[in-house]
Symmetry: C2
Subunit: 369 residues, 2 copies
């Protein structure tokens, strides 16, 4: 991959004193958003790209924190000379509310009780996440977004931005996403939630105060989600039926296969870095997502780019095509590319060559138009 890193970055916080009115009619107040920026806002303030992360992501999309050797989650996509070129664009990546990565979420202090919200945190929707981000963009005194972009839940936010604030959004890139969560999508999320809620240490969400976590439940949720992020083909390529020790072990609890070992590793790693309550709230927000009706009525100048991946069975090409077809009903400007990839839903985090070129040339086209 061409281009350099944006280098050392810092996490910023925006805190709003105005309450955030939620779709549920409840309010969240006060609320904060963690965000990062890369590149420079130009004088006309017309070079802003707003990047959204997926379920378990954070505002740390690019560069490095001083004490952490791991780069941001879209390091290959964002930087000088990269597809989201920080020499040209001012990139803002905003953490979602509900998350455990700096924005107000179930781990935050509930001002009413002076304890963590836990399950007193209000149920939020993708539209609420976007409303909160709008406050951040207002705070940054940005009136127009050259582009909004994200994959998976990030793609839903990119779509929701174009629906909620069509006048502000010049272009929207929606990658590996959907106009609505299908019953199968909801079913997988539900099982993850049930696993967390059933964990003996969940303590009705108040595990934080008891200095423990529903580690087993959260690990199960993540293991399951991981299957949906990979394709059958990529699992065949990566693991096949490879054995961990070379032999069948014939113990009921034994880890015979590499794929079992991998899943456990992924589950355990996730428990270290993510909050179970956040997982519950964010998956619930996803389940509520259904913008098919709004899409059917949308008539906008926003230019859309849809990207899907051939082996993605979580948010399949058919689901991207549904968005394309709904957008075309009102003759909106929409491009669509299906990228050949055997890496399943995770492709949006892995496929940089083809994806990067498509993004670059789409953004180039928007700039010229």
């Amino acid at each position: 991959m061409n281009g350099n890193s944006v280098g050392i970055v810092v996490r910023n916080f925006f805190t709003s004193d105005e309450p955030l009115k939620l779709i549920s009619q409840l309010e969240l107040s006060p609320f904060s958003i963690a965000y990062e920026t890369y590149g420079t806002l130009n004088e006309e303030k017309n070079n802003v790209i707003l990047v959204f992360h997926a379920l378990s992501g954070s505002a740390h999309a690019a560069g490095f924190y001083p004490t952490d050797p791991n780069p941001g989650w879209w390091e290959d996509m964002i930087g000088p000379g990269k597809p989201l070129d920080t020499n040209r664009y001012f990139i803002v990546c905003s953490n979602i509310i509900g998350s455990c990565y700096g924005s107000t979420g179930p781990e935050s202090l509930n001002p009413k009780t002076q304890k963590p919200y836990a399950l007193d945190f209000p149920v939020i929707t993708v539209k609420d996440m976007v409303r909160a981000q709008k406050k951040l963009i207002d705070f940054l005194d940005i009136k127009k977004l050259f582009c909004v972009i994200g994959g998976s839940l990030g793609g839903m936010q990119a779509l929701e931005w174009a629906l909620s604030y069509p006048e502000m959004v010049e272009s929207s890139i929606i990658i590996a996403a959907t106009a609505k969560m299908t019953p199968q999508n909801i079913a997988f999320n539900e099982i993850g939630r049930v696993a967390i809620l059933s964990d003996f240490l969940f303590s009705n969400g108040n595990y934080q105060l008891q200095n423990q976590k529903p580690a087993k439940g959260l690990a199960i949720a993540r293991m399951l989600a991981h299957i949906t992020y990979l394709s059958e083909q990529s699992m065949n390529n990566k693991f096949g039926r490879e054995l961990k020790t070379g032999n069948y072990l014939f113990g009921l609890k034994d880890i015979d296969f590499q794929v079992q070992s991998y899943l456990h590793y992924q589950g355990d790693k996730f428990v270290e870095r993510f909050d179970a309550n956040s997982y519950l709230y964010i998956t619930k927000a996803m389940d509520y997502f259904d913008v098919t009706k709004e899409l059917l009525e949308l008539k906008t100048k926003t230019k859309f780019l849809l990207i899907s991946f051939t082996s993605d069975w979580l948010f399949s090409t058919r689901q991207s095509m549904e968005i394309v077809n709904l957008l075309r009903k009102n003759n909106n400007h929409v491009s669509f590319t299906e990228i050949e990839s055997d890496q399943g839903h995770d492709s949006f985090l892995l496929n940089f060559e083809v994806q990067g070129e498509i993004l670059s040339s789409f953004l180039e086209g928007i700039k010229k138009s």
Copy 2:
């Protein structure tokens, strides 16, 4: 569906005093098998069809128990005038070892301790299930099987029978099955097992003595399995995004969608009827299943019929085709049909019109040949 029911049936038991030597080198002794029979064994004893059930099935494939209004699990397929015609064939359905439906399994008394085996039950394989069934067939003094047939794990047994006892098996019908469990198949099983093992009430498998069960863990395992039994399309048709109350409820633990409600119902229903330890052992046996090497070397007179369903993504058409291709390498006699169905893996339990006709005409062909 044409044909009548076989009517009232009884469950029989065969108990072997000879130990069953297992693939793990351990022995199971004594062991029993629950089985049912329908129709009449002819004098030549050449009209036997051996039927195998899937993961959570039982020997009760057809007819009714005196006290239970529910018919057997393949009622539409087995009976006078039905595809497995009890006017012509003597049908034997054998419960697998490891099950909780009458055959020796983890709920059975361990003769060494006079307590239920629980996790002291030995790990078994599909080959062990078939070895046990062979003892039953010997006991019934049957030398030849006109046909062995089953779907899913039942299909694996039908395949294993043809590999273990090729001289005995005239024909083998393998429905919605696979020659080997893929890493994705194993991954889904693993998560189900982890959910059970993580349940606080699992008590290292000794829940039976404590008069409790790992109900939450077993329900999670079943909910997850259920997703893999349905197709995305059938879930769309059956549930879509239909709401339980007509409104979004905005409570974190609320059941908003019908699909959530359905999954919980399926999970709870399963907990009432199935044993968690059996679930662990049977899924483990499935994971070990890989007969690709034996298939490649098989040269047999057995006539094979493979059936897959278009929307089955658990054991897909590609997986049936793998069996077909391996069998054809040595010019074995093999037919293959892919049936159009949007009901996913469950099709083998639901699709009777087309499936029934294919079975009838295949069996007719074997009889004449």
